[in-house]
Symmetry: C2
Subunit: 455 residues, 2 copies
Amino acid sequence: MEKLFQVVDQRLAGYLEQLKAFLSMPSVSADPENKAITADTARWLADHLKSIGFPTAEIYPTEGHPILFAHYPGPAGAPTLLIYGHYDVQPVDPLNEWVTPPFQPDIREGRIYARGASDDKGQLFAHIKAVETVLRETGSLPVSIKLLFEGEEEVGSEALGKWLPAHKDLLACDVLLISDGGMIAKGQPSIDYGLRGLVYMQVEVEAAKSDLHSGSFGGAVANPINVLADILTSMKDKKNRVKIAGFYDDVLPISPEEKANYAKLPHSDKQFLKDTGAPKLFGEKGYTTLERKSARPTLDANGIWGGFAGEGAKTVLPARAGAKVSMRLVPNQDPKKISDAFRAHVAKVAPKAVRVKVSEFQGGLPFICPLTDPALQKAAQALTMVFGKECLFGREGGSIPIVADFSALLKAPVVLMGFGLPNENAHAPNENFDLDNFSKGIKSSIAYMHLLAEK
Amino acid sequence: MEKLFQVVDQRLAGYLEQLKAFLSMPSVSADPENKAITADTARWLADHLKSIGFPTAEIYPTEGHPILFAHYPGPAGAPTLLIYGHYDVQPVDPLNEWVTPPFQPDIREGRIYARGASDDKGQLFAHIKAVETVLRETGSLPVSIKLLFEGEEEVGSEALGKWLPAHKDLLACDVLLISDGGMIAKGQPSIDYGLRGLVYMQVEVEAAKSDLHSGSFGGAVANPINVLADILTSMKDKKNRVKIAGFYDDVLPISPEEKANYAKLPHSDKQFLKDTGAPKLFGEKGYTTLERKSARPTLDANGIWGGFAGEGAKTVLPARAGAKVSMRLVPNQDPKKISDAFRAHVAKVAPKAVRVKVSEFQGGLPFICPLTDPALQKAAQALTMVFGKECLFGREGGSIPIVADFSALLKAPVVLMGFGLPNENAHAPNENFDLDNFSKGIKSSIAYMHLLAEK
């Protein structure tokens, strides 16, 4: 392995030149005029893969931007590692805030500046360079490698979502590796092994047909704002636990191993309060801040409206009011079961003096890769080896629906091995990627292939 | 009295011509360009009062539109009746919906059509014609009559509010009569003897400094919408009683006489539900619909806002949310005491994980003229005599702050004797006034003067 790492160091300048060429392609997926450019980028990538030895690199046209799939078979009986990434990038506005043009990659102070440098071209390319390094030095790979690169991640992965089910066999693998995220801090490797799911509902309450005068009618007709407030309040108890029947039934408890991991993560409640500006912590009793915001399910109103919200006083008894309410789910909660329970709860608590409508927006499954999974442990081992510091495990409170979808479809562990750093301006002007993480990313990928090949 | 009523009938055509002249003056107070016109109208009224025998009719200029005061002394020891009205009118938009122009009074189908016909020039003028009739027939009045006409009722009576305290002695009276409202239905005289007061508050809740991602932060930071909902819910119990400490302490209970009166009022819960479109009645347990909406205090949210209220789903944990909450008060609740209790309640229930700001808008005192007050009973007697049907007593759920202000300042009973009818389009195109009510209004005023003079 040391030998391979040395080769990476020797070839790094050349790899960076290739990365520059990749980054100079303006593959902004949000722009519908850009189809020729994303097609060119996918073709460039496919050609590049073939040039480094992939027997095939297939481009799948879609209604949107193309999907690229390549496969390099490993030894008989070796496990298959599927690596996911995306070659599309965010728009570049505001362009005038860029120090150097977004599609003219520039290296300064140990970073490469360009749109897509960190999210996700640089990360994706590190894995390609890992494969290339191993192939050129040893003539083969210790595992089978499958690559899946899409061109619509920044606009919702619609084409991929449609494409996946029919290509389940093509993607069959033992581990799915996603490098489209980050690590806690420079020099501190970490892996997010869990994501929360999402159920997003809307509740609308109507009493009278039209707005009424609060003097002439107040006291005789239900007030939809007050009723809506009662409905929201009924959903939580004083300990900030969700009171919807069955809500916690399937929740996977936080294991002692996880508790131990949480304790290792850098976090200060004091700093957290300073960063958010909140006067005091809040949430479900019995759990730490990090646990509450990543490993425990929540219920939050995301918006509310009704009646008069302008300046001054208007004595209206409004006809209707509404709220958006979302629930972050944790493994093994089922979004469908939770949304049904939510509907049942509203139906139960809403008084007969109002009409209530409950609707639902697109949600997503929660995801977890068990801490004990060898695929996860080996990934951490690879990172620890390359970065020279113990890899930490975290759970992310947000949702990446495609991860849970992959996990459910492929029935394989999903490892989120991210090399981005917190201040790399993904989605903002002057996006950049740490060069040290680029080379360590290549090495981590090499190390992971070899560790996976070990029985 | 019969004789005087006959004279009214004989002179009605002439009185109507004079009313037309009064109605043809476009005294729209909302238009700041209209000062010359309102000044003309006040002068016309003053001249008219002098022409029918008032020794003086004083015009008080204000920063806005002028106030007119006139006094005709009665016999020594006779009570003084102060009559309030307003000569300003609402704007006329949308002009194209008027069948005949708003300031070219037109008589058709027993009604006179013009802006201000019902609200309030026609009603005010009926009292002037009552005085004129009595003066011309008998050479004197049975009571002292004071007239107070303002020109800013439709824009908030600001000038009158400032003027009143310094003119308390000038306005000293035994009864204040206000004819700026209506009766239940044509042919059914009624008097509103109570009005609710108002306290109007705003509650703003802030948790974090700025909006946060509900995935990354949900569960760790308070949600201002949920907290606001909890605060609103904490204000009422399951029987729809207000839970703010001390809220009901000073509430005047509904007397058995009032209960009996309420029972006489035309009301159908079924029709009420049909009119409002509400699926079911709602409100404080133990009271009828009419009682709840006029004689019992209420608490209603008038508006609420916070977070994302657009189409679709946005996973925001909002930084702040707010609501407007008003309380209708009944005698003898004190707005100051209630707003203090409201603030204390919010301070008590709000969790320390949020910052809360409570502010207050202009409110108003509740008002009641006790049912047993002779001034009220004699007014009802006058109406019963003229209309030939028993006068009913009602309480109005809305607030007219100036009425309570008058009542508090003058320490005299206030009688709301209105001659408007429900479908006279006050504040709307094609405003009109029933001619039968115009003549019965004159007669009722004559009858009232005489009844008040009786010991």
